[in-house]
């Protein structure tokens, strides 16, 4: 049964809309819709069409509303898009609001009994007897509920013309090796598809057509990507405490470590993963391991970062390598645990009491989550200090299309570690002396067989020989060397990515997951005759490109996902003489930033 509303007539007249729309599936969490959504997304991906998927979920296990959005875009834009073209309204709790939020002419697929056609007459409704169809799919009541999700996959597949062969492949991948599940689900898709073919008259303009834009690409979430980066960086000690949205980073890392880092003959592990009692312990363990010479890491989110403050300051002051992943969520406090944010920037950068500044890496894609995980371990040992890798829920937990990751080209470098032979050669070892003039001292590992190798690590004042001191000159000497080391890091952290547009007087600056929206917004602005250059920051401390970029433009917009314009403020501190040129675009409602928001915000200020 379908009702054609007035608004949709116009859309039809515009002709077909191919490979450029968003599908939103509204369900209840715990209903098993995740598999169906993955199958739907993957099938389109396998047709060669760029897609991105976003899971908007509550901090709850079962029974609360959840939304999954699949954006299909022929031009390869994979940022969130605010508007939905096709709604699959499966959740009676939210159906009315969901339909109300559609724009005129959109499509709504819903269970017939919800009678949504009365709520919006300007929307094209496809009403489906899901319960009836589910009864056909299985006699088992429990399974019916799960299979209902596969029914909508079949219906959408028919309406959009998704290759059945791709659905078969996706289902086989999703239910790897479980023949019974594969058959059941495929059958449900078929029931949905057949019903749609026989009962629905296609009246919407949306369709997919095969392309060749995804061949050779992978789909992965940022947490898995960071886990892979850590695996290939040779991480040996991993400590963590479960917290959304970072848990899946360590969980996926555990799977990879078990698969690739257990010695075949002995069955022994070349790694240790410890689920700590809290984040205080997680960072303590990681620091202990880093001090003793392991490549160590921990992964957490905002509340964990707060708990790690004291130890992170210790790591900075005593110069211990460790990598800390912060998959940011909305704070402060518990905040919105399942929503995304970039608001830990300043707190991570300056984490701890006292004068503290940490190196922070800011991956802007899943590929960079992988690469920068590797960079982080190298930098941690090179600079003998905690390194933060700041991702966020959007990047970390959502599925992204990417080019395959590249195997590390450089051998692992453990930094300035002196062996017994090195000490003999040098004639002495002083833990905190700046021998090379770069602010980075030498260290020894426990177990080094040399009478002069040992030193005493303390969070209290220490001199170049690691001896206790409260002398003013010793303290100043130490703090100045730490600052020098931080300045040295500017030349070694990943440089900003700069894209200059001819005649552009406006510069855009962004970082992390905002990149997708900014890239798309630049194209939208171009259409509106606003040319923009773009600098994407990949790390703190800032690299040399920043000043040049700001100087080279009349004014710049710093686009970020937090309330306080944290990056803008850091840039103003960095470039006080240019502070007046630096404007802000902020998005902080917990949803991933979208291109239209950026474009509108800039147009508004440019008016």
């Amino acid at each position: 049964m379908n009702t054609l509303a007035e608004g949709s007539k116009e859309k039809l007249e515009q002709g077909r809309v191919v490979n450029d729309f968003s599908i939103q599936v509204a369900t209840v969490n715990g209903s098993g819709s995740q598999s169906s959504n993955s199958v739907l997304m993957r099938s389109i991906f396998q047709m060669g069409i760029p897609v991105s998927g976003k899971n908007l979920f509550p901090s709850n296990i079962a029974g609360l509303p959840t939304w999954f959005t699949i954006r299909v875009n022929k031009d390869g834009y994979i940022a969130r898009k605010a508007e939905t073209e096709i709604l699959i309204a499966m959740n009676p709790q939210t159906a009315i609001e969901d339909v109300k939020s559609l724009s005129s002419g959109a499509v709504c697929i819903s269970p017939v009994e919800l009678r949504l056609e009365a709520i919006r007459t300007d929307v094209l409704h496809y009403q489906v007897p899901f319960s009836e169809l589910a009864a056909k799919a299985s006699e088992n009541m429990k399974l019916r509920k799960l299979l209902t999700n596969m029914l909508y996959v079949g219906i959408v597949a028919e309406l959009l013309n998704i290759d059945h062969a791709q659905i078969e492949t996706s289902i086989a991948k999703q239910f790897e090796g479980k023949t019974k599940a594969i058959d059941l689900n495929l059958n449900a898709v078929k029931i949905g598809r057949d019903w749609a073919r026989e009962n629905l008259k296609k009246q919407d303009p949306y369709a997919v057509e095969p392309m060749n834009k995804t061949q050779g690409k992978i789909i992965i979430d940022g947490n898995a990507a960071a886990a892979l980066g850590s695996l290939f960086a040779g991480v040996t000690v991993v400590t963590w405490y479960p917290i959304t949205p970072s848990s899946s980073l360590c969980e996926q890392l555990i799977d990879y470590l078990k698969a690739y880092r257990i010695e075949k003959e002995s069955g022994k592990a070349s790694f240790a993963v410890i689920q700590a009692e809290d984040e205080l312990a997680a960072i303590g363990m990681a620091l202990g391991a880093g001090w003793a010479g392991a490549r160590s890491m921990t992964s957490t989110s905002g509340p964990g970062i707060s708990l790690m403050a004291e130890f992170t300051g210790y790591g900075y002051f005593t110069e211990i390598p460790v990598v800390i992943f912060d998959v940011q969520r909305v704070g402060p406090s518990t905040g919105l645990p399942t929503r995304t944010s970039q608001a830990d920037l300043i707190s991570a950068h300056t984490l701890s009491h006292g004068d503290t500044k940490h190196i922070v890496l800011l991956p802007g894609s899943v590929a960079e989550c992988y690469e920068m995980a590797g960079d982080a371990f190298e930098l941690a040992e090179k600079f003998q200090t905690p390194i933060f890798v700041l991702t966020d829920l959007d990047l970390g937990m959502n599925n992204w299309m990417s080019d395959p990751f590249v195997y590390p080209t450089k051998p692992i470098n453990r930094g300035k570690v002196m062996t017994a032979a090195d000490i003999d050669k040098a004639g002495k070892f002083e833990r905190y002396r700046d021998v090379d003039g770069d602010g980075i001292p030498y260290r020894t590992l426990p177990g080094t067989d040399h009478p002069q190798a040992a030193y005493f690590t303390r969070g209290s004042g220490h001199n170049e020989k690691a001896g206790y001191t409260e002398k003013p000159e010793d303290y100043v000497n130490l703090m100045d060397r730490l600052e020098k080391k931080f300045q040295t890091a500017r030349a070694f952290v990943p440089p900003s990515v700069v894209s200059l547009e001819k005649f552009a007087i406006i510069g855009l600056i962004a970082y992390g997951s905002s990149d997708f929206a900014v890239e798309e917004a630049r194209d939208q602005l171009k259409v509106a005759n606003i040319a923009t250059s773009y600098l994407r920051i990949k790390a703190l401390p800032f690299t040399d490109e920043l000043r040049k970029f700001v100087e080279g433009h009349d004014h710049v917009y710093v686009i970020e996902q937090n309330r306080d314009a944290q990056m803008r403020d850091l840039i103003r501190l960095e470039l006080p003489d240019l502070a007046m040129k630096i404007r802000s675009v902020k998005h902080y409602d917990g949803l991933p930033i979208d291109a239209r928001f950026v474009t509108d915000a800039i147009m508004e200020q440019e008016r």
């Binding site: 050779g216 690409k217 002995s266 022994k268 009692e277 391991a289 001090w291 490549r295 177990g447 040992a454």
Partner: protein, 342 residues
């Protein structure tokens, strides 16, 4: 010409096991413990460079600077030495670890981490230098102060103590001892035995604070401890490298064989105490509190419990020094993973 100082089995002198001069108050119990730690490692003939010494914050936690100068030291943050120790142990399980903490560091701010260290059975010697007060902040009660114990200011402690030995046994600790800084003979034997133990060895040592808790009315003063100390047994330790056989009256000695072949010899006193009986150990500790007794010795030992290194299934070599050929999987691994994601 003076005679060369005596050396131990690896040719080092007692001096080679010493640290920087102590900056604690004269007569501090902690210094007495430090002296026994030096002696224990010297007599065991441990390679100093294979020892890692760790601590938290407080007077007690300063002491790793005063012993084993040739060992790496890690004076961490308040109450968090256990997590650091766990990380060090995972990175390099070939090290012998000794942690020194205090009653504030372990029983208050660090209670959680202490519990989880014990629960994991991280192989290390964990010493609590227990004086019932916060020394560095000038004499506030700690959580191990006995009910009714009097502070220097005359204030009475109104809360019951946390018994760290009882707690450790409850948490499954595989080696639990209690001693007194004024009983060097027993302490050094306990320390050496702890060094042979594979797992967490907790030793709670009553260590009087001469400045803030050594007065009349204190239950952690030298005078009180000396008068009240009741050893559960006469404790002897025979290292694996010098097996001495002594004839004892049958039934008067209990011998516990350790992993490395060393033996603990427990000569019975008028009590008949079996430290391998967990339930009895808990009951004994409870009764001691009720009877206001100060029992010392090896309270509990279990040589059959797996330590954390074993549970974590790491190989013989330290994770810290594994070469890239082991820690970085080959390109074929990445290719395989990428293919699965396509």
């Amino acid at each position: 010409m003076t005679a060369a100082p005596p050396t131990n089995r690896i040719g080092l002198t007692l001096n080679d096991y010493k640290g920087a001069p102590s900056t604690l108050c004269d007569g501090c119990g902690h210094d007495a413990i430090t002296a026994q730690i030096i002696k224990a490692f010297y007599e065991l003939g441990t390679e100093p460079h294979m020892v890692a010494k760790l601590s938290g914050i407080g007077c007690s936690s300063k002491t790793p600077a005063y012993f084993l100068n040739r060992s790496h030291g890690f004076n961490s943050v308040h109450g968090r030495m256990p997590s650091v120790a766990t990380g060090v142990s995972m990175a390099n399980h070939t090290l012998t670890m000794i942690g020194v903490s205090g009653d504030g560091d372990t029983a208050s701010i660090g209670l959680g981490q202490f519990c989880h260290l014990v629960r994991r059975n991280v192989p290390m010697i964990y010493i609590i230098e227990n004086n019932g007060v916060y020394g560095l902040t000038k004499g506030q009660f700690s959580a191990t102060a006995d009910l009714g114990s009097k502070a220097k200011s005359g204030v009475m402690n109104e809360l019951p103590p946390i018994d760290l030995c009882g707690l450790a046994i409850e948490l499954g600790c595989s080696f639990v001892g209690r001693s007194f800084a004024g009983d060097p003979k027993q302490l050094v034997a306990l320390l050496k035995a702890a060094g042979s133990h594979q797992g967490t060895a907790v030793i709670d040592v009553i260590s009087p604070c001469v400045t803030f808790n050594n007065h009349e009315g204190s239950t952690k003063s030298y005078k009180y401890a000396k008068e009240m100390e009741t050893p559960l047994h006469e404790l002897g330790y025979v290292p694996f490298f010098e097996q001495i056989s002594v004839d004892y009256e049958p039934g008067s000695v209990q011998e516990v064989e350790m992993h490395d072949g060393s033996k603990i010899r427990l000569k019975k006193t008028d009590r008949d105490y079996d430290p391998t009986d967990e339930i009895n150990a808990i009951v004994t500790i409870k009764k001691a509190h009720a009877n206001k007794e100060f029992l010392t010795g090896l309270l509990y030992i279990n040589e059959n419990k797996e330590d954390f290194t074993t549970i974590m299934n790491v190989g013989d070599a330290a994770l810290a020094t594994l070469p890239e050929s082991i820690t970085r999987p080959p390109k074929s691994a990445l290719d395989e993973i990428m293919a699965e994601l396509m």
